[in-house]
Subunit: 425 residues, 2 copies
């Protein structure tokens, strides 16, 4: 086995006063995932306010340490977008107006039939020597600069826009290929992303230990817990791509032996797309009846492209009259058991199935809070039922901790898990 080359030092600077006021940052995670897949790793993140002096100082300091510096944010049109200026200052260069970039920005605004504000002209300035990176999802072009170094690979400086939906495609299409070519040469990465549900992060960690203990210079492991799921990531970083792929294949089969029954998918598979795959394979259609989640379940089910192949629609039965009139829930059920009950959930699921003419009906009814809870039916109490295929009926009851939104999201995740399990071929 050949030893992989020196690991490149890669830093990210995120710019935005709002980040230091507590706004969430999505960039570190987005970059870390992509670097890992390419056999690279992030060495440092710095978060700075919209302050040209502090930013220029941090850029200079980073350039004394790293092989690649990625700046995110501060490319917008407004007075406090100062990344262009700060990088130019740190490099001792000036900013050059690009009529071609400006024409591109003008075209984007014309397509949206929006007046181009004078401020957006600032986005057409490039640090001297920089090449623009096209922005498919917004107005701010990115920039990339290569700084030659004696006896070393050139240093790379990239300026990327702050909004995650603009930054991510630019990272994938523009920056990562260049970064791999220059600083990832001779490095071969492969990765495995397994998504699990119905298991706690600590339990997954414990069961995966025989695999995790094999971490070393060629293999890294991470367990991450998200809402209603646990992700297990394996990064291989080898001198040949054959070896990297081989290691990943071995890790996959070992992980499947250890936690396989909880793995609903790999890579970009979501729990809702895993449910969709099972529905499609079994040629079943689905309808929903949602009360406390009021559309969140259907919203997730239909986020999978092509979901119209199995999703028929449903009823949002927030008010009890709607449960009665559109879902056929019996007034006696509501009177005797209340809307948050196993009986009501069962009738709602059957009603959704009938109303939307589907093979399977799924319902959710609960108390999301903050008010409406009682000693017998506390905030967080949720019932869900699955009616069909055929005569099958399953009812679940949970009590979720957390505030209103957390309860609703956990309920959706739990119902999706239940659907996935229930539809097992």
């Amino acid at each position: 086995v050949t030893r992989p080359p020196r690991r490149a030092v890669i830093e990210i600077i995120c710019v935005g006063t709002e980040l230091l006021d507590g706004h969430p940052d999505a960039h570190r995670a987005a970059l870390a995932l992509r670097l890992g897949a390419a056999g690279m790793r992030l060495s440092r993140q710095t978060i700075l306010p919209d302050d040209e002096g502090a930013l220029a100082g941090a850029v200079s300091a980073a350039l004394r340490r790293c092989d690649a510096l990625i700046l995110c944010g501060g490319l917008g049109p407004t007075f406090d977008d100062l990344t262009r200026e700060a990088v130019a200052r740190a490099l001792g260069r000036d900013l050059v107006f690009s009529p071609r970039l400006y024409a591109g920005i003008r075209r984007k605004f014309a397509r949206l039939a929006t007046r181009l504000p004078r401020e957006n002209r600032r986005q057409a300035f490039l640090v001297r020597g920089a090449a623009p990176l096209p922005n498919r999802a917004g107005s701010a072009p990115g920039q990339i600069i290569f700084l030659p170094r004696p006896k070393e690979l050139p240093q790379l400086v990239a300026l990327l826009p702050g909004p995650p939906r603009e930054m991510a495609p630019m990272l994938d299409d523009e920056l990562m290929p260049r970064l791999r070519r220059i600083h990832g040469r001779g490095l071969h990465g492969a990765r495995l992303d397994l998504h699990l549900c119905g298991i706690a992060e600590s339990a997954a960690d414990e069961r995966l230990q025989p695999l995790i203990r094999q971490a070393g210079p060629e293999l890294d492991f991470t367990i991450l817990s998200g809402p209603g799921r646990v992700d297990f990531h394996v990064f291989a970083r080898c001198a040949s791509s054959r070896r990297a792929r081989g290691l990943i294949a071995r890790c996959r089969s070992q992980a499947m032996r250890l936690v396989g029954e909880h793995v609903y998918g790999e890579g970009a598979t979501t729990l809702e797309s895993a449910v969709g795959q099972r529905l499609r394979r079994r040629r079943l259609s689905l309808a929903v009846a949602e009360s406390c989640t009021a559309g969140l379940l259907a919203g997730r089910l239909t986020s999978a492209p092509g979901s119209s192949a199995y999703f028929r629609g449903g009823i949002l039965a927030y008010h009890d009259a709607v449960k009665r009139d559109l879902l056929g829930v019996k007034p006696a059920t509501l009177a005797r058991h209340g809307a948050v009950s196993a009986a009501c959930a069962r009738e709602m699921a059957a009603g959704a199935r009938r109303a939307a003419d589907a093979d399977v009906g799924v319902s959710v009814t609960g108390i999301a809070g903050p008010t409406g809870g009682t000693a017998a039916k506390p905030v967080g109490l949720v019932f869900a039922a699955i009616a069909g295929p055929g005569d099958a009926v399953a009812v679940d009851r949970w009590v979720f901790p957390g505030d209103r939104e957390v309860v609703r999201q956990r309920a959706v995740a739990a119902v999706l898990r239940r659907l996935w399990t229930g539809l097992r071929p």
Copy 2:
């Protein structure tokens, strides 16, 4: 007016290789919240791996810039917990074993009836000159060091544990009182958070310039764009709390003069809760008919606590048969104009209103993609209709750029904006 004292420069360093692999960081938000309430602000965050050299270098660099440095993480018992060592090295001090601290750690383990691993002895070492900070929720004591400076207030260096449930109480009980006493003396904070819709970030910036130009030692401004909205933040930091509140009140009335018609709320108000307020004030109930957004609109409308006062429910008409059977859309409309048309949107809104017995019905139908688009009806084309109150009917047509999820989210934001405008008292 007394000038407020110089703003203290406060930095946070978070330590942990897992953070650079993409694990979420809760410390910046936790600290920012507490600093803001005390009229202080975070100047920089640095995230570093478990690497003593890099960490010691970052501590030295930070101490050349700041008044207070807060380190989080790396106080655990294992080989890769190196914050104590790194701070000692940066300050040119050694680590001193504290028998008293060790006795405390031993007592904690005894209480848990757990054997004390030998590794935990490391947690009883203090940087020479540091005072220990008690940890109510875990084994790692924190540490605090005051570095005297000629003619200036002493520099403060704090070492806090990484787990948020250990870090947060130590922040509240131990660090914040000391930080306020030393670097926050005579400081009073107040803030304004205005939320706008129906205006682009750059246009808001342009119109708010007369206000933004007043930025100075007492006032900071930030404009931030989120999905379908723009936020305008003002931070006041004054020598008296009366003056801070007065400045914020003046900024509020000036902002309302400049962009008032776009301001849907303040503070924790969301667009959906602003819509809810208008419905509640006018005593109107609402029902939805969603096709391409399939529940996302209702999901947002019901995220506001108390939404059951005006939200009745609705129909998710993903499949055309559901549009016909449950919403009463005419087969002729579907045949002649298609499901994505102004005519269909109009009938869907009327149908939702009728089916759920509501005062106002709102519908969304569109092509979210990735497939299903044609030259005449491209991906991103969305129609929305609002039927009611009374005989009023409004229909909108948009073409949104972006992928499936972005189109759906933009459609929801646009419909909420339209509802908010349409329900103007």
